[in-house]
């Protein structure tokens, strides 16, 4: 136990440990999972598991480390700002902003926007330009009333009408995708099959 050779080995190991402590994270495993609050402040939950066991993250700013595939994740801890930056700074800065969604409504049985929705278009265009968006989804939706084939058809024609409007206004057409979901994706669950809120076109600016 006190053999000189072992002591030398221990000293070398200590020296290595000392060197590692100079790095953020202090020589602890750098395989890390970190939970942060959402943009709206809500805090979610993540479960980390491997052959060794599992750990749950439910508090904002808590993190676990994993040494290897057979060792259970450590107890949740708070990372120092320096280690958070070293591990995740670049990824965090590259995280895109959430897409923005707009909902447009139409005069009954037509592909003509209501005046309110017409007035919303400049905002759609401004958002797409601001975000320099190359990925815009325009999806038509119908209410549950009536024949589904008709619903799919009018939803598509409405979505297509919106696409034409925003392309005409100068948005690049190549990033725009048009789809129709008929009545399969209602915005609100309603006892009224004619629910006007469900007859809409959703624009997602990514």
């Amino acid at each position: 136990m006190s053999a000189p050779r072992k002591t030398t080995g221990c000293l070398a190991a200590l020296a290595l440990l000392a060197a590692l402590t100079l790095l953020p994270g202090c020589g602890k495993p750098r395989n890390v999972v970190l939970l942060l609050p959402d943009p709206d402040g809500h805090v979610g939950q993540v479960v980390v598991r491997n052959q060794g066991g599992q750990a749950q993250l439910a508090q904002a700013g808590s993190a676990v480390r994993v040494a290897d595939a057979k060792t259970a994740p450590t107890q949740p801890e708070q990372l120092t700002p320096a280690e958070t930056e070293a591990l995740f700074g670049a990824a965090q800065r590259a995280l895109p902003e959430k897409p923005v969604r707009f909902i447009l409504y139409f005069d009954s049985e037509t592909t003509r926007l209501t005046p309110e929705s017409q007035a919303l278009l400049p905002k759609v265009l401004a958002t797409a330009r601001e975000r320099n968006s190359r990925d815009i989804a325009i999806v038509g939706h119908a209410s549950a009333a009536g024949d589904e084939n008709y619903n799919v058809d009018i939803s598509r024609r409405r979505a297509e009408a919106v696409r034409k409007l925003i392309v005409k206004a100068g948005l690049p057409p190549e990033g725009i995708e048009v789809a129709s979901h008929g009545s399969a994706n209602p915005l609100v669950i309603s006892a009224n099959p004619h629910e006007p809120k469900n007859r809409r076109v959703e624009i997602t600016v990514r």
Partner: protein, 188 residues
């Protein structure tokens, strides 16, 4: 009608996009909505790139990624030294990779109208940030991220993970090491 669908699906997928681009206003075929569910639907798109980020797709040569490029199921995304990549997926989840990362979009399915949802990613090395979207909201059980050392299940929403290099398979390790390209290969 049901017998025609698979064929229509196949035949319509490309023309639907092409027609949209040309701004033609043909009456929409009744089976058109089937085309949107085709296997070739993108999983998402590239929102930002800094430095060198590439996609390895179906055995083809690595392709440099740029803003607006579509990402598909099975794509392998790699970032070089000092690089970063930001994506927005079809369920409006956002995710990003830090430098020296390798991420596989193992499975991605977002057809809420059919209840068809899946999001399985694999980070073999590097760092990733994510804010989950509709898939996790609708069914958290189908969303996970695997790594060589651990898997995570996601009940929402904003999380980050890191895996040090050296735990991937040798094949995975070789992918995307553009800054350490084999001798003789010119690196731009």
């Amino acid at each position: 009608m049901s017998a025609q669908r698979p064929l229509c699906k196949h035949l319509l997928a490309a023309p639907v996009v092409a027609l949209a681009l040309l701004g033609l206003c043909l009456p929409a075929p009744r089976t058109a909505h089937a085309a949107e569910a085709s296997a070739a639907s993108p999983a998402g798109s590239v929102k930002n790139v800094s430095g060198e980020a590439q996609v390895l797709r179906g055995g083809a040569a690595p392709l440099a990624l740029k803003h607006g490029d579509r990402i598909f199921e099975k794509d392998v995304l790699v970032t070089g030294k000092g690089a970063a990549l930001g994506l927005i997926l079809r369920d409006n989840s956002t995710l990003s990779l830090g430098p020296g990362s390798r991420l596989v979009v193992e499975r991605f399915l977002f057809e809420p109208e059919k209840g068809a949802l899946a999001q399985a990613l694999k980070l073999s090395r590097g760092s990733m940030a994510a804010v989950s979207g509709e898939i996790v909201k609708l069914n958290p059980a189908v969303a996970k991220v695997d790594t060589p050392l651990y898997s995570i299940g996601i009940r929402g929403t904003h999380f980050l993970l890191n895996v040090e290099p050296g735990h991937e398979t040798p094949e995975e390790a070789a992918q995307g090491q553009t800054s350490a390209a084999p001798a003789g290969e010119a690196s731009k």
